[in-house]
């Protein structure tokens, strides 16, 4: 009997059909050519609901190959539910090697964090984006925000930052702080903490963003200027962890999570699980460098 090799698998490699992959790939090339601009795309059906990481998954599955080493994190952790399930899914659909080690991975998908360890030129970093439109909070209609982006008319955004400062004494945006890419487009960097925003600037890796529910793709190429929006007199700043340190390692220069123990006592721990593991193992992973981390005391 002739063995059926072609249809031995129940699914196409990387789940998505080749026609849709090509469409996503063409859109990704345009996204890279216009840094920060949101390209509409098909956002095909996936076995998880839109808004649960389908955008990141579309990008990952459209670009992944057999040789890739895949890592996925959710809020910095390799072990949380969203990351575990998507890792298992990508592994089943591609049979790719998966890893927890940031430096070993060639393709990293993330939900809401950039790894603490510095990315390299050989890595692609894929974000799961819930709300790709930074202007949505100041303008309800899509056709209007497209026009505003087209004309680089960002007055409303600046006014909203100013109003926030007047009302609260600070720009009250935590995760997803708006940035200007290549001095042209204002972009939502997905809900990464302020801590991670400076790490997008002049990064060595290619950053790709997929918003599945909103059907948008965008990108930040390596070595691209990414500036957090700030005023001359009111500057952008990262989260303040003064007076705290990781209770396991004593490390102070990383993004920390707050933990409450059974006795009610409060502790802090490094959010990036792989970075924490490496410090516990007494390795010294190379961290991102930026002026905000530099001014902290170790």
């Amino acid at each position: 009997m002739v063995e059926n090799i072609k249809y031995a698998n129940k699914y196409n490699f990387a789940f998505i059909d080749e026609a849709t992959k090509k469409e996503i790939r063409r859109k990704l090339l345009k996204a890279v050519a216009i840094p920060g601009y949101q390209v509409p795309y098909s956002s095909p059906e996936m076995p998880i609901a839109r808004g649960w990481g389908t955008g990141g998954l579309h990008v990952t599955l459209a670009i992944i190959g057999r040789e890739d080493i895949f890592k996925i994190i959710d809020q910095g952790s390799d072990a949380s539910v969203n990351a575990c399930n998507l890792r298992e899914f990508v592994h089943q659909m591609t049979n790719c090697q998966t890893t927890y080690d940031t430096s070993e991975a060639t393709l990293i998908q993330t939900r809401h964090r950039i790894t603490e360890e510095e990315l390299t030129e050989n890595q692609i970093f894929v974000y799961q984006v819930p709300q790709p439109e930074p202007l949505r909070s100041v303008e309800r209609y899509e056709y209007r925000t497209r026009q505003m982006h087209g004309e680089a008319d960002y007055a409303k955004m600046w006014v909203s930052l100013y109003e926030s400062y007047v009302r609260s004494g600070d720009i009250m945006l935590g995760a997803g702080y708006p940035v200007k890419v290549n001095k042209r487009y204002i972009m939502a960097p997905s809900p990464i903490p302020r801590w991670d925003v400076p790490n997008l600037n002049q990064s060595k890796a290619l950053h790709l963003f997929g918003a599945g529910r909103e059907k948008r793709l965008y990108a930040v190429p390596p070595y691209t200027t990414v500036e957090a929006l700030e005023f001359e007199d009111v500057k952008f700043h990262t989260e303040d962890f003064k007076g705290t340190e990781c209770y396991k390692t004593g490390y102070k220069k990383a993004f920390l999570d707050e933990l409450y123990f059974d006795d009610g006592s409060k502790h802090f721990i490094i959010n990036d699980s792989n970075f924490l593991d490496k410090l516990v193992e007494k390795e010294s992973p190379k961290q991102h460098e930026n002026k905000y981390i530099k001014q902290l005391q170790s």
Binding site: V32, I63, L206, P221
Partner: protein, 210 residues
């Protein structure tokens, strides 16, 4: 069809796309598309053919211009089922490097709300190298994806095409994206975000293009 046996629509297409993506994200970085023994048609380089195979399908339109353009269009549409379109409407345009630059002004450059609705040109040149060669054009690329400045030498490219592309890309985000391939399957990309300049080699026998 021979391509079905030699060319793997899943894995070859993916591998080549990753190289194109890498070149697009890092303008001036030379990537080499692996040599495959596919059936070819005259008038278009192997690398450009493989780029067409990797990116085109029935949802995309394309156009070839210059000599043998009808053969090239027939060949690409046979293997990819992509639509043949007029120059003004095509998503991808395949040309040779010695083409006169008049066609660039005809291509779609997108609209301000939708700048991605624009053409990508795939240009066949003779040689792309990081070392200077005789009669080469020195391309100096800077912008997103380039750390400081990237220098590449290209032969067999009508420099008027570069002038025309610069002119069309002046009003960023509107513009066209450029992919250059050579006879040895080397490839570089020049996205519209790139602010490039070029210098002609100081020789008397600079080839003449109209």
């Amino acid at each position: 069809m021979q391509s079905e046996i030699i060319y793997d629509e899943i894995f070859d297409a993916q591998e080549h796309f990753r190289l194109i993506l890498d070149s697009m994200a890092r303008p001036g970085k030379i990537n080499v598309i692996p040599d495959l023994d596919i059936r070819m048609t005259a008038g278009i380089s192997k690398a450009s053919t493989l780029i067409a195979f990797s990116l085109l399908n029935t949802d995309a339109s394309f156009c070839a211009i210059g000599e043998l353009s009808n053969d090239i269009e027939e060949f690409i549409t046979l293997h990819t089922t992509a639509k043949i379109e007029t120059l003004q409407k095509a998503d991808f345009v395949f040309v040779k490097g010695d083409q006169s630059a008049g066609f660039i002004a005809e291509l779609k450059i997108g609209t301000l709300p939708y700048p991605e609705d624009s053409a990508t040109i795939v240009v066949d040149v003779l040689n792309i190298s990081i070392d200077e060669t005789a009669d080469s054009i020195q391309l100096n690329l800077k912008g997103p994806g380039v750390k400081t400045i990237e220098t590449v030498y290209v032969t067999g490219l009508n420099h008027a095409i570069l002038d025309a592309v610069r002119e069309q890309n002046y009003e960023f985000p509107l513009g066209i994206d450029l992919v250059l391939t050579d006879l040895e399957n080397n490839m570089i990309c020049i996205p519209r975000s790139n602010d490039f300049t070029y210098e002609l080699a100081e020789t008397d026998n600079q080839p003449y293009y109209n």
